[in-house]
């Protein structure tokens, strides 16, 4: 039997040299105001045990990890119909590239690049009156934490500077692949990205991904078993930007990363795991976060492969 707490503590020590590698996202001032060597890691097993090290109560901007939750909502709303407007393939390009979008007539390669998440948001807007609030409430329910909230200053900064995201939204609109006004979709999207959570909260919120679609403390399943399997497949092939191959190779877990420095991963049937450290690699993933997960799967010999 593995002593998870001891393993996390080992990792917390071994990770030290990695905490000074990489660069904090600084395209908006709010993201750069965080302590650069922060580190936290939380693990929750499907039988309900939790383990933590580091600043696991400290909230950070979940950014692209929100794409997991918006996609989950969209799939629970329209299931497979979502794939009429988004692909399922890794992009082989930076997360915010417009090139592929042009070659592929406004159909984003997958739901985890920005363009794809904008279409996901547009789908939710089709189904629900208030996409922004609905997503927040959904996350609060997943994590059983009512005070999780948007960081409005982050959302506002994104709106003021996010010209590339706006370009993407307008571009997809020109191909007919957004049904709502780009500005409305962007507004909801920027708010989703701005949500602030701790590793402890994210780890708990993502339990259904490890647990065949079920949050044990909720009466209704979040996703069917089949939908959950597929969500994990998407995370593995598309969840870590243009580094999915390297991430699968080194870590071997389905995961979704964000430029706030968080990574949420899971081993289906076993555990949900979340790590946070704000310095990013060139490809936009937390350097120490990816290393910590690699150490974890190496030490425990637990991975999908």
């Amino acid at each position: 039997m593995l002593d998870f707490q001891a393993i996390l503590q080992e990792i917390e020590i071994e990770i030290q040299p990695y905490l000074t590698q990489g660069k904090i996202a600084s395209y908006i001032p709010e993201l750069s105001m965080v302590e650069p060597t922060s580190f936290a890691m939380s693990l929750m097993t499907v039988d309900g045990q939790s383990y933590h090290v580091g600043a696991h109560h400290k909230r950070f901007s979940i950014q692209s990890i929100s794409k997991l939750f918006t996609l989950t909502m969209a799939i629970s709303l329209v299931d497979e119909k979502i794939w009429e407007r988004i692909g399922k393939e890794p992009s082989g390009s930076p997360f915010n590239s417009l090139v592929q979008l042009e070659y592929e007539n406004g159909i984003p390669r997958n739901p985890f690049i920005n363009a794809g998440a904008l279409v996901v948001t547009d789908v939710i807007l089709n189904e629900l009156k208030d996409a922004q609030k609905s997503v927040l409430n959904f996350i609060r329910t997943l994590a059983e934490k009512e005070d999780i909230n948007f960081d409005f200053s982050v959302a506002k900064s994104e709106a003021l500077t996010g010209f590339r995201n706006r370009a993407m939204a307008d571009f997809m609109k020109s191909f007919g692949n957004l049904h709502h006004e780009p500005s409305r979709v962007l507004d909801a999207y920027f708010h989703h990205c701005s949500i602030a959570m701790s590793t402890q909260e994210l780890c708990k919120a993502g339990m259904y991904l490890a647990n065949r679609g079920v949050q044990p403390w909720l009466s209704e399943p979040i996703l069917t078993q089949r939908q959950t399997k597929r969500m994990n497949a998407l995370m593995l092939t598309c969840g870590t930007y243009d580094a999915v191959g390297e991430f699968a190779y080194r870590v071997g877990l389905p995961a979704k990363s964000g430029v706030g420095g968080g990574i949420l991963a899971c081993l289906p049937g076993n555990f949900s795991i979340c790590v946070w450290s704000p310095r990013l690699s060139e490809k936009g993933n937390s350097v120490a976060g990816a290393k910590a997960l690699e150490l974890f799967t190496t030490k425990t010999k637990m991975s999908i492969f």
Copy 2:
């Protein structure tokens, strides 16, 4: 001595089979409301003689031909400094592609593709309070016609549907290559494109391009001789979208075309010539217009080559 009027009349007859080829631009309703087999051709020599056939008084939407006049204004305002923000090379891509813009970090390939014209408009906005009105007044002066005007319904339609142009503007803003708000630049740009003129008016307005920078009826030159030479070089290498090679090969004149079906061309030192017919080739140039110019340079053996 060539009898230009007779040659234009020959062309008017020979062009008939071409008037039914190609498709009228229909992305906004206003452009598709024109009589599809319309044809007009106007010639003005540097010694002041004018010749016309067809509906040469009929005004049509000049669209991208406006890029000639805005570039002329920008060059007269900031001269060579404009090339710090725009290239001078043919694009090898459709006029509204974002791919090259991404590979080249937001620097448009040349001032005659849409992205380039947006930067030109941004430059004019730096220098003049009211870019929109200034450009209109400039064109009125060039053509000596005070009732030339915007077609506000065209401009409004462009604004409502021009998501790809908006995407371009936002994209360049994200690279720092627009100084003003994208919406303001777009608004001026859409108005420039909406200006309605006849071949007779355009032909006269473009006389300076054939006449070393000078409109004979104005006291001040529009461009220096050197600037005029360079403007002609840009027209030849970049003026007819992704068909510049074919156009130079068949016609052999510096020219700028628009999706309204107009083409304004010149033979430096000799004449300004304008043709209009609304059906377009796949690459966006007037089919009968290009053919009429080819017939003209073949019959007269007058071209730059």
Copy 3:
């Protein structure tokens, strides 16, 4: 306890409608001479049980499945050093595209696209005198079958028509990323692809991928446990051409496909599985093969996710 034989037999029945979908590879005459509705499926568990349906003794051209075995040899020869010359990311492009190769200076995106396999072959040529024979012997050993052989007429046809592969080899040579003469590398590569095996043989040969690097009947491990995990990660993110996302989504097993219609997959710690049916999807994977694997993971609820 699952009755694997019964499940395979169910699949054999349910797969019938899929056997007429897709197109047989016909770029060389030899590949098109196979019975188009052929089907075979073989399963081997890590505890040594085997199950088969269909033409499981019938040999077919393994084609790109050979890339698995050459990469295994190269990794056992030079381990991580191979990544200095090949990437680990999915390509987001067709398997034989030269575009990405140009943008990335002759470094192939991963070892499972053609360009990558040519570099792998070049690496083996560095280490072993006779790359061609060594690979054949390696596969014979893995499958415990001495009469597995090249199909020389397939290899010759590939050599005669494989101009795109030659272009790739020359292109990488121009970037300095092939050390041997392109013609020599291509010759070995075409021979590797021409090897003929049955699903029964391939399934057995690939057992080490499911079994932490070990063929139970051999004294020495083929790969370390860590290398095996990483090989599986590569298969999942790069093993099925530009359809890896879709394949992971629907099937959820690490796999490598070939244009001969074979797919070799595994569930680490559980089983090796091989399916064959020659008609291909547009992306180059066996239509019925992929469907049969999807049925298998759906019926057994056994996948990595």
Copy 4:
């Protein structure tokens, strides 16, 4: 009346600071063995006057300037049919890119990029038994100089190192756009590029381009007037690699450059002009050569624009 000799001498003085800018082509040893600050310029008017400055007797490797002569031969052999296999548009990409070739299914953008010249050579091979010798004889006739010859060591070096050109040839063969064996086409092509000529010889050889298709000392025209006009159009839009816009803007003459440092240009109806200086810009054109031509058209106010 302009004093051309005086103008050339002025240019020879003013060009001095430019002779040390740029880099000599060094991808094969032979090209780098030339004196780096060499300079020569030759002018020949259509009425038969010649003017020279610098090392105008010194022969250098004409390289891509040979593309002019092979295209001329091909057009005189098959006229417009050549455009079934080659485009006429500027590439917007480096001269040796394979990207566009892939997007456009093996049809090179124009006859002056390497891929296009390989197709031109393939066309000549269709029509003439010995493409290599025929082209040499053609050039000897154009220049009235029987001792012009291949530089066999240059041709051999190109063959040994020209993997990118080989990749292009194989790639086009894979699309069916080469009819002969790639190795045979390449061999002829490398020999054409290796021909050594002086500015005096090139200037004379290119007279027909300035003189409506006629070498005054030959009984038969080389091209028709219409073909000559079109050749000039191609030179202007495609003759100076990915710098055609800049070249037209600054110089304003149809021209073809080579990496040996030569540029052959003309003003139709007026003169043929050739300049040589081996240091190249990043885009592959002679730095001092382009500047000298710019000085010439500025001083004489003679250009096509």
